[in-house]
């Protein structure tokens, strides 16, 4: 059996009376790509935030890359990275300056060489001297991904990685993820609304709703279970509490 890169047990996050994530548990296989799928307010970002340690759970346990995240977070973080279109890099710093700062933060060896490699890989060479705030959405995404791969993470957490990208750029980004995973054997966990992306990229899907995990399995398993042709239809079935192509379970 493939060992787990992430193991989550009885994870709960409460804000006073509001339960954002309710007693969830799951495993993410090492070297695989897993999606956290769910609508707005399902608890995806809260779950990702707890995995990253930016948010402390009310209860439960998270083990990442064999370490307890609640007690040894700083042993794990140099081996992990994160990308989200909703978290900016400093706008006034150039792309090169931003990447240099983060390379030092992640303890990357050979900073200049690594930045040069990533700049070639992500077609950033002409952008290195431009302030990050003056880039287009697509360019910002490429820079954010370069930042996310600076330390060649064993585990990459992605929050809606292709949001606000045109289909061509989004497809290119997905290709980069696949290449990176093939080359390094890294584990990818992504939170997404984008069903076709999940279908194309992911080996496993965790479906979240109202702070809980309501279903899980490979995209093929879920399609078969719900008798649907696309994950979008499965998503709508779950969002509307339907099973078997139309029965509403309210």
């Amino acid at each position: 059996m493939t060992p787990a890169a992430i193991e989550v047990e009885h994870l709960t996050k409460r804000y006073n009376d509001v339960v954002a994530v309710n007693d969830i548990g799951f495993c993410v296989r090492k070297g695989g790509t897993t999606a956290l799928l769910g609508g707005n307010g399902a608890g995806k970002t809260t779950t990702l935030s707890m995995l990253l340690g930016i948010l402390l759970p009310s209860s439960g346990r998270i083990t990442m890359l064999g370490e307890n995240m609640l007690t040894h977070r700083h042993r794990v973080l140099p081996r992990v990275n994160f990308s989200s279109p909703y978290v900016d890099l400093p706008h006034r710093l150039t792309v090169r300056e931003n990447l240099t700062v983060y390379a030092h933060l992640y303890g990357v060896a050979g900073v200049r060489g690594r930045i040069a490699t990533l700049a070639r890989q992500f077609d950033l060479e002409d952008l290195l001297s431009r302030p990050a705030g003056k880039l287009s959405a697509g360019q910002k995404t490429r820079v954010a991904l370069a930042k996310a791969l600076l330390n060649e993470p064993e585990l990459l957490l992605l929050d809606e990685p292709t949001a606000s990208l045109d289909p061509d750029t989004a497809d290119w980004v997905r290709g980069m993820f696949r290449d990176y995973q093939r080359q390094t054997g890294a584990t990818l966990l992504l939170a997404s609304h984008n069903m076709s992306e999940v279908e194309r990229l992911c080996d496993d899907v965790l479906v979240m709703k109202n702070g809980g995990i309501v279903d899980a399995g490979s995209p093929q398993t879920l399609l078969a279970r719900y008798g649907r042709d696309t994950l979008e239809e499965v998503f709508l079935d779950i969002a509307r509490d339907r099973r078997d192509g139309g029965t509403v379970r309210r």
């Binding site: 935030s49 948010l55 402390l56 140099p78 900016d88 390379a103 933060l105 050979g110 930042k147 330390n151």
Partner: protein
């Protein structure tokens, strides 16, 4: 694989990560002449105004004429405390304004490393802002604060540390209550200005206020400064008192910041933070 983080051991404290944060702010200063100019502008204006006041008062006041630099020295030393507070708080506010705290808080950077970087940036901003101004007073007003000699270094360090403590407390409040609290960086420190005897001896204050004033490290520093200027000797007792109080307040401020950092992780304050 050139880029992979070489060690899987996590040092409790990494100077390289501190350097990364300092580098980030140096890049920012270097790339923005307005920020650089602002660092020097206000200390310069202060010194120009108080330089003329000193020139006027020297001819009208026996007290000022006995120590011509008493006001100029005071305003420069007060600026050390004010600017060091601002230097810490601005470094933190820059992360909030640029919505970068999310990235930093999921990176291997530890809170104590962030604090250390903020303190170092405060020192850099202080030197960039104050050193040219201190040198300018020599040709402009024929007064050199460097004539205070070795005690100047002790005054400088004590006031800088006092400013750090206030700046860290302000940063903690901004982290806890958001950017609505950012004006504290400019106003909070002025709450102690009337008490710490910048331009007048602490003995001028009512007895009950004097009791409070002696709990402020800056009061001891400014009394010490006047002691040196009026040839009353090296103010060892004042400096020791200031150092002990500073140690107390800085420790308290660091602990407060670390505590609020923890609270931010519990309450999810790092999520969606920014302008």
């Amino acid at each position: 694989m050139t880029g992979r983080t070489p060690s899987r051991n996590a040092p409790l404290f990494s100077w390289r990560r501190v350097y990364a944060i300092v580098l980030r702010h140096v890049y920012l200063m270097r790339g923005s002449w307005t920020r650089l100019a602002e660092t020097i502008y206000w200390p310069l204006i202060n010194v120009v105004v108080w330089g003329f006041i000193t020139q006027f008062m020297a001819g009208h006041s026996d007290w000022v004429s006995r120590a011509a630099g008493v006001f100029l020295g005071a305003i420069m030393l007060w600026d050390v405390m004010f600017r060091s507070n601002l230097g810490v708080a601005l470094s933190f506010l820059e992360e909030m304004w640029s919505r970068n705290l999310g990235h930093l808080s999921v990176s291997p950077l530890r809170p104590l490393e962030l604090v250390t970087a903020m303190l170092l940036m405060s020192l850099i901003r202080l030197l960039v802002g104050m050193l040219p101004v201190a040198l300018l007073t020599i040709p402009l007003y024929h007064y050199s604060i460097f004539t205070l000699g070795l005690p100047l270094l002790a005054f400088f360090i004590n006031l800088m540390v006092s400013g750090w403590a206030v700046g860290l407390a302000v940063s903690a409040m901004v982290l806890r209550y958001g950017l609505g609290a950012e004006s504290l960086a400019w106003v909070l420190i002025f709450a102690v200005a009337p008490l710490c005897g910048i331009y007048y001896p602490v003995s001028v204050l009512p007895d009950w206020l004097q009791t409070i004033a002696w709990w402020l490290p800056a009061s001891h520093v400014f009394e010490g400064m006047r002691s040196v200027m009026f040839d009353q000797g090296f103010p060892l007792a004042e400096l020791v008192a200031a150092a002990v109080l500073n140690l107390l307040y800085l420790t308290g401020a660091v602990l407060l910041f670390l505590r609020i950092y923890h609270v931010a992780r519990v309450k999810g304050l790092f999520l969606g933070m920014g302008e």
